[in-house]
């Protein structure tokens, strides 16, 4: 194991780690917000809009993330959308993630018994408060596990951003490997690192799940 290599490339790798985390957090938080808006529009918006959303969801889920990234990053400038690699990475994450998040939220909405919402309307609750007080707190129970699952998938998708020269962790590792002709150690270390990141995300997800289901455990 050539440890001095990791010392020499330490700052670059650390910087790459920062970019990975930045793209992951910004992209998935943006994806959750857009996905939630899509799910709400789908439920409460006009009927025609839900068709548009359906087509959007199907297109994004039916095409590879890499192609979406290429269309945005290489095709964008032709329609006046010039993005830096990191901006393109985050934007494509939001575009790619939002339909999946929208579907997760939709399943959450459907899990709330209709009677509760009708009852809330009968006692005169406004729609926004029904969403905030009745639907959301209960919805967290069935959606936490799929949300964690998708956060984990997005953690791993950050590696693909290296293809459009986003200076994230894999990109820095590839640079290091190419400059020093060592491949086994850097890539093995990188694999272990991603693995650790996924395990930590899964662990946080399990903790959140415990917290949102605590009212069900008390017997």
């Amino acid at each position: 194991m050539e440890t001095e290599l990791f010392v020499r490339y330490g700052p670059a790798l650390l910087y790459g780690f920062g970019i990975t985390i930045l793209c992951w957090l910004a992209g998935s938080i943006g994806g959750v917000i857009v996905g939630f808006i899509l799910a709400c529009l789908n439920r409460w918006g006009p009927h025609a809009l839900s068709w548009v959303i359906y087509v959007y969801v199907e297109i994004i889920r039916g095409t590879p993330f890499m192609i979406q990234l290429f269309i945005l990053y290489y095709g964008g400038p032709y329609i006046g959308l010039v993005l830096s690699p990191v901006q393109a990475g985050i934007t494509s994450f939001v575009v790619y993630g939002s339909p999946y998040f929208a579907e997760i939220f939709r399943s959450g909405f459907n899990a709330i018994p209709k009677g509760q919402i009708e009852a809330a309307r009968c006692v005169g609750m406004p729609e926004t408060r029904i969403l905030w007080r009745i639907i959301l707190p209960q919805m967290l129970v069935p959606i936490t596990a799929p949300l964690t699952n998708f956060f984990i998938i997005l953690t791993k998708e950050t590696a693909i951003l290296s293809v459009v020269t986003v200076p994230e962790l894999l990109f820095q590792t590839q640079t290091m490997a190419a400059e020093t002709f060592t491949f086994v150690e850097p890539f093995l270390a990188l694999s272990l690192f991603y693995w650790l990141m996924v395990l930590v995300t899964g662990w946080i997800g399990a903790k959140v799940e415990q917290r949102v289901t605590r009212h069900l455990k008390r017997a």
Binding site: T63, I71, I79, V198
Partner: protein
């Protein structure tokens, strides 16, 4: 700028030819995934704690590392330990071994949803364990797991785009090459997206047909 349908029309034959590689990689990957995933699932459910632990570790690792990194590991790092695989084989092996981890979990979920009374009844009747798997457990598990397995195949078609990184001339790579010649990324990549979408659409429709066929009653 104007959207050039001419460029699309001229390059469509090359893109379609490249799509054959996409299909080859994903179908071969799925074949490996099904065989290896079944074995993995059996190991995961075995009574031997060491075998079970190994399977758990395998599944956790292959589900926890980005496929792109696995692919690079297979292609660039394996030669250093004396295993020099051509790009296509490396890509198929990496996707297959990774997908096997997911297939194993799908099958495990399906198997565990079969009431255990059936297994107990089979043992009580003296049905040997091979027949138990062949006649009772596997047919039901396949029926229960079918939607997820079709989903996995669709994922594999999308994931095969990663093989472009190690230089295989599949759909994504050829799109990159054509873009390099024509400077028309928007047209070419959108066409590639449409082809991917068409493949997946056919898969999901045939999946639904198979599901219907497998349903009883």
């Amino acid at each position: 700028m104007n959207f050039s349908f001419d460029t699309i029309w001229h390059n469509l034959p090359y893109l379609l030819a490249a799509a054959r590689w996409t299909i080859l990689i994903s179908v071969s990957g799925m074949a490996i995934s099904l065989v290896w995933g079944t074995a993995l699932c059996a190991t995961r459910l075995s009574a031997n704690p060491f075998l079970r632990g190994a399977a758990v570790l395998y599944i956790s690792f292959f589900r926890g590392v980005p496929l792109l990194v696995q692919l690079l590991l297979f292609y660039y790092a394996l030669p250093y330990v004396g295993l020099d695989l051509p790009a296509v084989q490396a890509a198929i092996l990496a996707t297959g071994l990774c997908s096997a981890a997911y297939t194993a979990e799908i099958l495990r979920g399906a198997l565990q949803s079969i009431p255990s009374g059936q297994t107990e009844a089979a043992y009580a009747l003296g049905i040997p364990s091979f027949s138990l798997w062949r006649r009772i457990l596997v047919p039901q598990a396949v029926r229960i797991g079918m939607p997820s397995l079709v989903n996995e195949l669709i994922l594999l078609v999308k994931v095969s785009s990663l093989a472009s990184v190690v230089g295989i001339g599949e759909l994504t790579r050829i799109s990159q090459n054509i873009t390099g010649e024509t400077y028309r990324p928007l047209e070419i990549y959108i066409t590639a997206a449409v082809i991917y979408f068409a493949i997946n659409w056919v898969l999901s429709i045939s999946g639904r047909l198979i599901e219907k066929k497998l349903q009883i009653g």
